[in-house]
Each structure stands twice: as structure tokens, then as C-alpha cells.
Subunit: 201 residues, 2 copies
DNA sequence: GTCTATATTTGGATAGAC
DNA sequence: GTCTATCCAAATATAGAC
């Protein structure tokens, strides 16, 4: 998997550039420079720029699945696993500060472009959503698991957007702490939560 | 203010198009079609596309200031005013679902483009941040007012991003309810909050 | 102030030699 | 599989007539 073929080189370089510069703003020349091949050589590997995007999205989907599987193995409890999710904000804080969230910014851009690969890109969000949802179900919150998953996903997105705009890593740490507290209070009140209309707090 | 000059027409059309399609994806032709003038005529009013962006940002800043002033007048208590902020998500939910948040998506795009007007665009965020901060101070939360302001701003951003990705207005309403609850619980516990290390919950 | 015509550049894509 | 040369379309920007 991911051998050092030219094909993979292109996808990897495009992946990075799409993240840092955005999809539309990244030209074939940019990718060609990064991979050190000529522009013409591209079309031996991909029919169009859209096809490169497609390949990038599918690589990201595969990597995300791998990461979630890993968290599933490492985390002994659902709390631990959800904490793994929350802590990617810490692990990636330097990049988030500079470029935002790779998932959120891609989906936002493709929405503006009204691009055909929107649905594929959104699967990245769905991957996290359903995984988190399953963890909350395991926590006994089966009635509002999806709401909790979406809530957490939204908070992560908001943190990434503002950390990027304000170039503020400290804010990431601040909010991660709040999310951890929120998670703890969510799990403590599992029993009574079944009867509450209010999924968080 | 905002007379029907060609200049203003251009700025208004660009404002809409930048929001719906993104800045880079919007061409002079797009704006020209909307305003119904020829492309060449642009350069009588603006020296470059960047200059149009600059004008758009400043119009948005002025409109935002006007809106915040209005909320200041209408809202009798700081809670009421903060609720006004939270409820723009409801008022604009149809557009947010389709195009995301106008502030967040612009700042994210300009960050990727590494555009010179990033700082100006970020002032839109700062406007909300300082205004919310002031409201929280009035609520007696002077030690953590800015944290609370940023927290609320982040949650709004996250809601907009996910509502856009999942094309889900219901999610907006769900999260607005949670934000209102959060605000209520924040204000109830004002006295003890002074001694808590934990600004929310 | 507005138009048409045009210059210039860039980006995506193709053809064909090696 | 990789390269050079080239085509085509679109986008920013300018010149100059009306």
C-alpha cells in the first residue's frame, strides 16, 4: 500500500497542496513542481484535475478509516476513544492554526464551487459522525447518540475555524479542555440523560 | 448611504457572489453579468479584483457594526443581546445551509489563498468577539468574558460548517437550543463562576 | 461613464517524439 | 512512462473610441 509510484507521488503532493492552498488555487504546475515531473506527464496518470481530487479524497477516506480503527483498538472504553477524537485537535494544532481543518475546509470549498465531488468529500464527515455515534451508543446514550456526535463534530469544526482565523493555538487547548469536561459530564449523567430532552450540559 | 451608483452596484453584486461562489471562483464576467455592465467598465471604478474585495469587506464591516448597534439598542439585558447573536443562525439558516457562514468561509478562503486582505476580513470576527465579550462582562463574567465570547463564536462556526456540509437546517435549530441553554446556565451561575476555573458548563 | 477591442498570462488538456 | 511543444479557453487587465 502507498508504494513510491509516480501515481502515489502525485496524489500525496496534491493532498498536501489542496490542504494548504485549496483545491482551485492549486494548479497542475504547482503539483508538477512538487513531484518534479512535467505537466504533460500528468495525463498519463489522471484524465483531469477532478480525477486527482477524487483520488485524494479516497486516500483521505482510507486513512481516516485506518485511524478510527486504530482508536477503536487502543481505547479501552468509549470515553477513551472519544477522547482520542478530541485530542487530534491538539496533535494537529500547528497545522490547524495555519490551514484549518482538512475536512471542513475542503467540504466548504467544494460547496462554494458546487463541485461534483461534494458528496464524496462529505463522507469524511460521515465517517467521524457514525464512529462517534457508535461510541455514544456504547456509553448508553442511544436516544441522542447522533445529536451528541454532531455536537462534538461541530465544536471541533468551530475551534479549527477560529484557531485558523486568529492564529491561536492556545484557544485550541482551551476548548479541548472544555470538550473533555463536557464529555465527562455527559458520561456521568448517563442514567438521568435518558429522560432529559437536553442532550448536553 | 448605499445610493444606486454603479460603484455600489458592483460592490453589492460582488458581495453576493463572493459569498455564494467564493472569492477566487468569482470572475469579473460573473460580476459584470450580475450588474449588467461590460468587463472593461470595471476598471473605471476599481483598479483590481483585490480592490473590489476590499470594498466588499468594508461594506460587511459597516453592516455588521450597524447590526450590533441595533442589537445593543433592542436588547434590554446582555442575555437578550447575546440571544440576538445566537438567533442569526435561525434567521439565516436557509443561506447558511446553502453557503455556510459568510464570515467563516471568507476568512478560511483568504487564509488558503494567503491573501493580503486576511487581516481585514478577520476584523469581522473581531467585531463579534469584542461585542460578545462586552456583553459577558456586563453579565458579571469579567474574568472569562473573552473565553466565553470565543466559545460562542466557535460553536456558531461549527454549526454553520456542518449545516452546510450535511444540508441540514434542523441541526441548526437543535444546536441553537443548546446554545440558549448554555447561555442560561452561564448566567445563572454567575456568582460561583468567578471562582471556577471552568468558564462554561 | 460606458463601451469594444485587445493584450497578456495562466490553467487545463492534447499530440506525438523518445 | 516521461518529455516537449502546442492548443484552447478563461481570466485579469489595458487602450482608446464614443
Amino acid at each position: 500500500m502507498s508504494e513510491k509510484t509516480t501515481h502515489n507521488h502525485i496524489v500525496e503532493a496534491a493532498d498536501q497542496l489542496f490542504y494548504r492552498q485549496g483545491y482551485e488555487h492549486t494548479s497542475f504546475s504547482n503539483i508538477a513542481d512538487a513531484v518534479k515531473i512535467s505537466r504533460g506527464n500528468f495525463y498519463h496518470h489522471f484524465k483531469s484535475k477532478d480525477e486527482i481530487l477524487d483520488a485524494v479524497i479516497h486516500v483521505r477516506l482510507a486513512n481516516t478509516r485506518k485511524m478510527l480503527d486504530q482508536w477503536e483498538i487502543e481505547g479501552k472504553t468509549p470515553e477513551d476513544r472519544i477522547l482520542s477524537f478530541i485530542h487530534i485537535l491538539i496533535g494537529n494544532r500547528a497545522k490547524i492554526k495555519r490551514y484549518g481543518c482538512p475536512v471542513g475546509t475542503l467540504c466548504s470549498e467544494l460547496a462554494k464551487l458546487n463541485h461534483g465531488s461534494q458528496a464524496e468529500a462529505n463522507k469524511l464527515f460521515t465517517l467521524f459522525r457514525t464512529w462517534l455515534c457508535r461510541q455514544f451508543i456504547l456509553l448508553g446514550r442511544k436516544t441522542d447518540a447522533d445529536e451528541l456526535a454532531m455536537h462534538l463534530l461541530a465544536r471541533s469544526q468551530g475551534v479549527a475555524t477560529l484557531a485558523n482565523a486568529f492564529h491561536d493555538e492556545k484557544f485550541i487547548k482551551q476548548e479541548v479542555k472544555l470538550m473533555c469536561d463536557w464529555l465527562r459530564s455527559s458520561t456521568e449523567s448517563t442514567a438521568q440523560a435518558e429522560h432529559s430532552s437536553n442532550p448536553s450540559l
